[in-house]
Amino acid sequence: MNPKHPFAAVGAPVERVEDLRLLRGRGKYVDDLHCEGMLHAAILRSPVAHGRIRAIDCAAARAMPGVRGIFTAEDIAQTSKGSIPTIPLRAAPLPELVRFEQPVIAHRKVRYVGEPIALAVADSAALAEDALEAIGLDIEPLPAVAGWRASARNDVLLFEECASNQPITYTASKGDAASVNAAYVRRERLRVQRHTACCMEPRGLLALWDGAQAKLEVSGAAKVPFAVRRALAQCLDLPEDCVDMIEADTGGSFGVRGEFYPEDYLVPFAARKLNRPVKWTEDRRENLLASDHAREVDMEVEIACEKDGTILALRGRAWVDMGAYVRANASVQPCNIAQYLSGPYRVPNIHVQSTMVLTNKTPVGTYRAPGRFEADFFRERLFDMAARDLAIDPVEFRRRNLLCKEEMPYPFATLRPPERKGETDSGDYRIALERCLAEIGWAEKSRLQGRLIEGRYHGLGIGCFIEGGGAGPRENARLVVEPDGSVSVYVGSANLGQGLETVCTQIAAEALALPMERIRVFHGSTAHLKEGFGSFHSRSVVMGGSAILAAAENLRGAIRAAAARRLGCAVSDVVIGEGLSASQAAGGKTLALSESVPQGLSAEGTFASHHHTTAYGAAAAHVAVDARTGRIELLDYVMVEDIGRIINPLTARGQAIGAIVQGLGGTLLENLVYDEEGQLLTASLVDYLLPSATDFPHIRAILLEDSPSPHNPLGAKGGGEGGTVAVGGVVANAVAAALVTLGVEPRELPLAPQRIWHLIDAARR
């Protein structure tokens, strides 16, 4: 790439192309789509957490005016050869896990509140909901297990035929952690609560069935449209090329939206059955009950160090509450907790086990920084406790153990099964830590540690982190020269609201030496490319952007070849100039793009890599705690992260700040609470507390690009999740530091006022 030409857009804080439509109400989200003859679906969901379905009486509902169809497991079994399809595992489909896949509709049993039991299709959404109320449901309740401890006893089984509620235990190991004899050992039990992405746009689908051609088109795809197409075609017994998944504007994903859900089958099923377009829009209650939950894990974790704080080993055991089924990408969180517990530190010996435990609750999936947020809370909390025991300054403790530049690439623990190794890529982690300390003013502010000032205790916390990105195996792009000389860019990455169109436009503009106005980016939909992988694991720019570079190189080659024919010279003599014009070297004749290439000339490009990127950084928080109410005010929060080459500083910083605030939500506010019967008590935005504009006004994010990734031509690293990773540990450490004189040690999130108050109250007794 040539950063000097006039269209060098990479690295500039370019205002987003998406904004022009989104700011004027011209975005098209899936619920904005309307079409002739469209029907509306609503879903009857289980009111009990565990039970046997005795009968479903749909007669009254079917007879209601405006109702076009009611479908249950029975109807689906009839059309799919007697069996109910299950949601296929997208990530690591081990045989141990396949047994626990979720059927697309409850069949004989229900296993969580919110599990789909019937689908009503009617002339309007209101009528479809009315129909749900007329369905007679007879469910024999079974004892429910609403927590991992009760579940682990295996006396209530979610799957009787499997004889256990624990599908698998992953192990991450390195060195010989068991035989480490250390001068200092501390073991703690820590916990992260269940919470989730809660995108502002609920999920939705519009399915159109073309009976004449036996083709299905589904709008509302996101994140991984190609994977969902594969799964859907398989479940509906259709050839893959008879199904198109179309991306609309997408109101956030954060890992949760876009995986294959029961509705992704049910709505197209109904459209085919009724031969009418069917739309379904998840309402907020359903969103909290039915979209993936995340994060809930208990962990026993042990650190072994020398007296000087040098870490010798980390050992631990995590129990991850998976909810009732193992969904498409559910293995990511338990794996990441084990493999990335060591984070950015030098830990020679590791033995961590992570066990999936099923409970009668909503199934879980990935949510921004899956497993990493949790692991960082465990590790950074434990580090502060160890540092205090050893009378070592917490910053010094980290400096001592943080990886050095000379140690790159540094191996993580090896994960099994199946065996997965990994390593860091590049960077000088201490630079980020020192910058963070300077930015928050650690040296001056550390005198505030634990001090009571005007009725509030002040505390500072620090933590270091890494963020993974750039998952393989590959990504594809296709560039097409349009008649007007503009270039259309088709890329397999998906836009979830992160500004992908703008960033890909910048990359293509620079690679082709075209002004950004002459690039149009199309993404995500299966109609655009033969194969695509989508947006997850902070991969869309790293992989999709690199694929665009490859395609651009191929396009330039094609132009050179075409121009060489026209100019009657050797391909090697052709030079590509501004606007993709081609000229014979040494002042020869110049052909405009339209003169040199046939209309519709296109070039494809693929970027393949199995090397993950490792962005890294440090974060620090300054809090004030009102011990009388337990309220924590965040006075300052600073994150410094090196994310390799930055394509657009404006959007990169936006990701960082947004990620931090999501982390703060999970640390201080958000909690999906169940009662002992498995009823979700927080199924509205009144009780599920998202951060609002008044909660966290003091946040800073500083992004560095000192250490480009060696593994892709852009030098970019995934940077969408790092802001979230560190928050739990850092803020909890600040609170612990504030309340040190009271002897309070937070071991569980969220740090809700009532929890803090009860900790203080208990410490005083």
Binding site: S124, A125, A126, E129, D130, E133, D283, R284, R285, R628, T629, G630, R631, L669, V673, L681, T682, S684, V686, D687, L689, P691, S692, T694, D695, A752, P753, Q754, W757, H758, D761
Partner: protein, 285 residues
């Protein structure tokens, strides 16, 4: 979450509205600002057969100030209270408490009458009404009756309002100059319902002795109510730190708070003590 089906009426007189409610025989509901009713219907927790929209009823949107105090028409919105500069002196406790109600858009629609009729134990307005010995004028088929706020609320979302009755006015007794007061609440986020809140005032006599102490609680209760023992602990004493701490301690013992997912009873009790301390210290300062 589409609203269940209902019939809709938009009467132009109070008499018509009452007649419609009476004919509904308990299945009709009055629609004022709709900011509590419509969410409840969206979750299909209630499904009235008829909504009687009060928007065309004349004369219920006035804030009047007189010798006898402040009168709020049932359709007075939070926004109207917020923007009425007279209330800062005519009833500072009301103005302060209402500043905590919900958010900007809700405040543009939500009404005093609708809020009182909804009877959420954590809402501010019932707390102000009860603490200040307000009276509520209710009009029904049998005419108008006046009920003390303390007698109006029966429990969470439960009042003495008959099926055919509407709140038409809230009457807050006159606010004497020199009154000391405070309002404190604790919510998890700005605009959320209070986990606990207190409204308090007293009238110091010439010697600075607290008289006529009124202390009311919201959130940490099943319905807004006054705390007679905490009031007694303050009355007749100089409102110094010692008296304030004593009153707050009594208040914590006097409340009977519920436990829910956001706050245990013990935590709410402690909040009441802290908030009352802070409210009274502010009052005394």
């Amino acid at each position: 979450m589409k609203l269940p089906a209902f019939a809709y009426a938009c009467p132009e007189t109070l008499e018509e509205a009452v007649a419609l409610l009476a004919a509904g025989a308990g299945t009709a509901k009055a629609l004022s600002g709709g900011q509590s009713l419509l969410p409840t219907m969206a979750f299909r927790l209630v499904a009235p057969s008829l909504l009687v929209d009060l928007r065309k009823l004349p004369g219920l949107d006035r804030i009047s100030l007189g010798e006898d105090g402040v009168r709020l028409g049932a359709k007075v919105r939070w926004r109207d209270i917020e923007r009425d500069a007279r209330l800062a002196s005519a009833h500072p406790l009301l103005a302060r408490a209402v500043a905590h109600v919900a958010h900007y858009q809700i405040r543009n629609r939500g009404t005093v009458g609708g809020n009182l009729a909804h009877a959420d134990p954590a809402a501010e307005m019932p707390g102000v009404a009860v603490t200040c010995d307000a009276e509520l004028a209710l009009t029904g088929s049998k005419g108008t009756r006046v009920v003390r706020a303390a007698d109006f609320f029966l429990g969470p979302l439960s009042t003495v309002l008959a099926d055919d009755e509407l709140i038409v006015e809230v009457r807050l007794p006159a606010w004497p100059p020199g009154r000391r007061w405070g309002f404190e609440e604790f919510a998890l986020r700005r605009g959320d319902f209070a986990l606990a809140g207190v409204a308090a005032y007293y009238d110091p006599d010439a010697e600075g002795i607290a008289r006529n102490a009124h202390i009311g609680v919201i959130g940490a209760c099943h319905r807004a109510h006054r705390l007679a023992r905490a009031e007694a602990a303050l009355n007749g004493r100089a409102a110094d730190e010692q008296a304030i701490l004593a009153s707050a301690e009594v208040a914590a013992a006097e409340v009977d708070p519920p436990t829910d997912l956001h706050a245990s009873a013990a935590y709410r009790r402690a909040l009441v003590q802290t908030l009352l301390e802070r409210a009274l210290l502010r009052a005394a300062s």
